[in-house]
Symmetry: C2
Subunit: 146 residues, 2 copies
């Protein structure tokens, strides 16, 4: 079983290296949405880009929340996050540059109406198998616990 | 780009072989939940087991719906499903047996208050990369399209 400090550093490493993140959002009728999206970890935030009309954008705008997962399923990082949706033309150069550098792509460069979703973790949990369920919380109320 | 029939057979193969499934559910306040759970594919249903008090059980009971994903993120099967929650003691021997055979475990055998969640796909989509987004729907309204 990994100690808390190891789980924290492993989680940060995954955020810095994984190609994609699972993003779950919900409307206010109990309908969950879930999609894999390219991941950018920048300045303590997970940044993803989606079309403005997408369910993810609409749900995140309305609820201000999302739940994220990095896999695989036996080495997970689970994140509860506050969500903020920004039209790409309103995003500052730091956001645009970080996303482009990480993913190799700039939303809207091929046309379409894109938004960035800025996801600020409030709770992060990390576990591999059943024996790591205890002690899985490495961030709570936005503060690292180790 | 895989033809529809190939995507369907690949999806069924993943349902029959993958160890885990991502399960997203939601409450009626726009809060999404997402967890990886052991997967059993039986009689056209995805069967998972969770504690009765879990967020997944409560959300699925209230909404009757879930969204599922099989990974990895660049070879996904995405499923919209109707959800039915059954206390383990009310589950028939076919359900209990199929789940035990697939996962090697019987919910409640170590104590605790467990339920099965029976997830019947209504829509299934399968894609690997951007070029497979077109034609990604292989089941619609509960009927295979190929």
């Amino acid at each position: 079983m990994r100690p808390a400090a190891q789980r924290k550093s492993d989680a940060i490493e995954k955020l810095g290296k994984d190609q994609d993140v699972w993003v779950a959002t919900a409307d206010d009728h109990g309908i969950a949405h879930l999609v894999p999206l390219s991941l950018c970890w920048h300045d303590g935030m997970v940044i993803v880009a989606v079309e403005a009309r997408s369910r993810t954008a609409r749900n995140a705008s309305a609820s201000g929340q999302a739940r994220l997962a990095l896999g695989p399923t036996r080495d997970v990082v689970m994140i509860n996050a506050k969500a903020s949706v920004i039209p790409r033309q309103d995003a500052g150069p730091a956001i645009v540059g970080a996303y482009r550098e990480r993913t190799g792509w700039e939303p809207g460069s091929d046309g379409g109406d894109w938004v960035y979703v800025l996801l600020t973790p409030t709770r992060i949990q990390a576990w591999r198998d059943v024996d790591e369920i205890a002690g899985r919380t490495v961030m709570s109320d936005g503060a690292w616990l180790a």
